[in-house]
């Protein structure tokens, strides 16, 4: 024990807290595996057009026979009208991952701003914003999402250009708006908590004393110091967002076919559940693996940023 500590001391001096966190993160075996799986998924999604071209398949080409089994060309076979399932899963990954990541980023941004404002200014603003946050957290999320997803965007946002409000763009835009609307609260609470303690710290008081603008204090001094909890909470939220995307698409309220998403591929596969169950198994497994991976990474990051936990683990 003693030996260990002595050996570690010089390293701690030379490395910053982020590098340390990164090191601790890599100690979390499941997080490490998850990260590699996700990197593979992201690469597959990004390079899907070239991969499909290489295999000679396409996500919207129904020229093959239907319900083909697995083969060299069609790795996961074909669906009920002869489209390549692998290609559809890859394009579905594009949709699901980008909706998940974009929504998580937007939710993190909104949550951070609300949390920082509430924590920094306190008083009436704080109580209003936090009451609102609490109320949002207490709502039955899924029923409300279903309701909002059924609303026509044209009736709510008439000022946006019509190209955004129709067809596929509309379904993605609507999905992102709805998901973000219900996902920012955790970050807001965490950021508010950190801000409450940060605003009493010397460097913030000093900045105030020399007359730095308050908005600058929030963005230059407060928020950068809340990065750790924001990253952890956002990573954990991606899994939930992907689940929401898939369930809404499954119910026919999210991504619309023929554009593939993991959720709407399941809707299509439902009719053939008995004779071609694999069509329903693949998209579900992809969702499951992705969500599990994000959750493990979030867990790993939390361990990495929370030295207390690591301490108790080393013992």
């Amino acid at each position: 024990m003693l030996e260990n500590k002595n050996r570690k001391a010089p390293i701690e001096k030379s490395e910053g807290p982020l590098a340390l966190a990164w090191k601790r993160f890599f100690k979390h075996k499941l997080a490490r595996i998850s990260l590699s799986i996700l990197i593979v998924f992201v690469l597959l999604a990004v390079f899907s057009p070239w991969i499909c071209q290489f295999l000679g398949v396409s996500y919207d080409d129904p020229s093959a026979a239907k319900f083909l089994g697995s083969s060299k060309k069609h790795i996961f076979g074909t669906d009920h009208i002869g489209r390549d399932v692998f290609a559809r899963l890859l394009f579905g990954a594009r949709v699901s991952l980008s909706v998940g990541l974009i929504s998580a980023l937007m939710a993190a941004f909104i949550g951070t701003v609300i949390g920082a404002l509430a924590g920094y200014f306190g008083g009436f603003l704080d109580s209003i914003l936090m009451r609102f946050t609490d109320a949002m957290m207490a709502l039955p999320t899924l029923p409300l999402m279903i309701l909002f997803a059924a609303v026509d965007l044209k009736n709510v946002l008439p000022f946006l250009p019509t190209t955004l409000l129709e067809g596929n763009q509309a379904s993605i835009l609507k999905l992102v708006i709805i998901v973000v609307f219900f996902s920012w609260m955790t970050v807001a609470r965490l950021v508010r908590g950190s801000t409450l303690s940060l605003r009493e710290r010397e460097f913030v008081l000093a900045a105030q004393a020399i007359g730095v603008r308050q908005i600058d204090i929030i963005f230059r001094h407060i928020i950068p110091n809340c990065v750790a909890p924001i990253i952890v909470a956002s990573t954990l939220s991606v899994g939930g967002i992907i689940l929401y995307e898939s369930v809404l698409s499954f119910l026919g309220l999210g991504i619309q076919p023929p554009m593939p998403s993991w959720g709407n591929m399941l809707t299509g596969a439902q009719d053939y559940l008995r004779s071609s169950p694999l069509l329903a198994v693949y998209p579900g497994l992809f969702i499951l693996i992705t969500v599990v991976a994000f959750n493990f990474i979030g867990d790993g990051l939390r361990d990495a940023f929370d030295p207390k936990f690591v301490f108790s683990k080393k013992k």
Partner: protein, 323 residues
């Protein structure tokens, strides 16, 4: 303390009112009223017919007026109105069978989740870093990550279609001769398990980490070093203390159960409030959707309220921190 209660109640009521207006408004913003859809199913329907029908149903009025009218009918006249999907049926007659159905499903899932999650959480905490602990941790993560509708589909595929052990959907046999407890339970197995999985996953993790914290506290080690029986220590002291934060977490996670029930009920055609809500939104069945929504919202908000109060009682500091 009383002041805290009161402010929480007022807060909850305000949220309910705002929510009810938001929901009512959203229903109205849904495009193409079902009445307008009649025109496509019947070439004889004319625009005049649509106008006449809308007038009879009061749909020609602006949204705020309709909302106020609805609110007055519910609060003042105690009239929940007629269902639009099921003509001739009062909303109350429709939901009065559904509420117990939903509660039955949720309660069963709740009890099973508790009974499964707490022992597993405790057990794996007392054996930290064992194979069991790793398996539990991994399983819990899978549990919270699994898409519940897909799990339902897989259950139907495996246990109802392939193995033919349990019925795939519904609530009881059609044949009245077979009705009874066993019959009902058979229909409950798949939906209840698929609804429980997510709760079990998250509660196991809370229980485990809460228990870990207690187990590592000094007083437990002291007790152990004094030679007290292992189980007495764990049960009498650690478990009791570890349960307190878990209980509030469980109360807070009740909304997830309500949301989950919507999916489970839809996948397994279970006639509960969740499915009714989904169907009524899809059919613009205003009165029913509003009632179901408010029912679920009240259930969720009050479970939160309950959790807060519980927390305030357990940990009095929260009252000041919350201000």
């Amino acid at each position: 303390m009383i002041q805290y209660f009161l402010s929480r109640i007022v807060h909850t009521i305000i949220v309910l009112i705002v929510l009810s207006f938001a929901v009512y408004g959203s229903m109205a913003l849904m495009p193409g009223d079902p009445i307008e859809l009649l025109i496509t199913s019947n070439p004889r329907v004319k625009p005049e017919d649509i106008e006449r029908l809308k007038k009879i149903k009061g749909l020609d009025q602006p949204i705020p007026i309709r909302y106020v009218k609805w609110l007055k009918e519910v609060v003042v006249d105690r009239d929940l109105g007629y269902s639009r999907t099921y003509k001739g049926t009062r909303t109350w007659d429709l939901v009065k069978d559904r509420i117990p159905n939903s509660l039955k499903l949720m309660l069963a899932a709740f009890v099973i989740s508790l009974v499964v999650a707490i022992p597993i959480g405790v057990y794996s905490a007392t054996r930290q870093y064992s194979l069991f602990d790793y398996a539990t941790n991994f399983g819990a993560f899978v549990g919270i990550s699994i898409p519940s509708f897909w799990l339902g589909l897989m259950f139907i595929l495996i246990f109802a279609e392939k193995l033919q052990l349990f019925p795939a959907s519904g609530m009881e046999s059609d044949d009245p001769m077979r009705h009874g407890l066993v019959d009902s339970l058979r229909y409950m197995v798949l939906p209840v398990i698929s609804l429980s999985v997510q709760e079990i996953g998250s509660w196991v993790r809370y229980m485990r980490s809460s228990m870990l914290e207690e187990v590592n506290k000094d007083y437990i080690r002291t007790a152990q070093s004094k030679g007290l029986e292992q189980d007495t220590v764990l049960f009498k002291h650690a478990l009791k203390n570890a349960l307190i934060p878990v209980i509030t977490v469980i109360a807070i996670s009740l909304p997830a159960l309500v949301s989950g029930a919507l999916i489970t009920e839809t996948v397994f055609t279970w006639d509960g409030m969740g499915k009714l809500l989904y169907d009524s939104i899809m059919n613009s069945d205003y009165y029913v959707a509003m009632f179901s929504f408010m029912f679920l919202a009240i259930l969720t908000l009050f479970s939160n309220f309950f959790a807060d109060i519980l927390y305030a009682i357990v940990d009095p500091r929260i009252r000041y921190a919350g201000k």
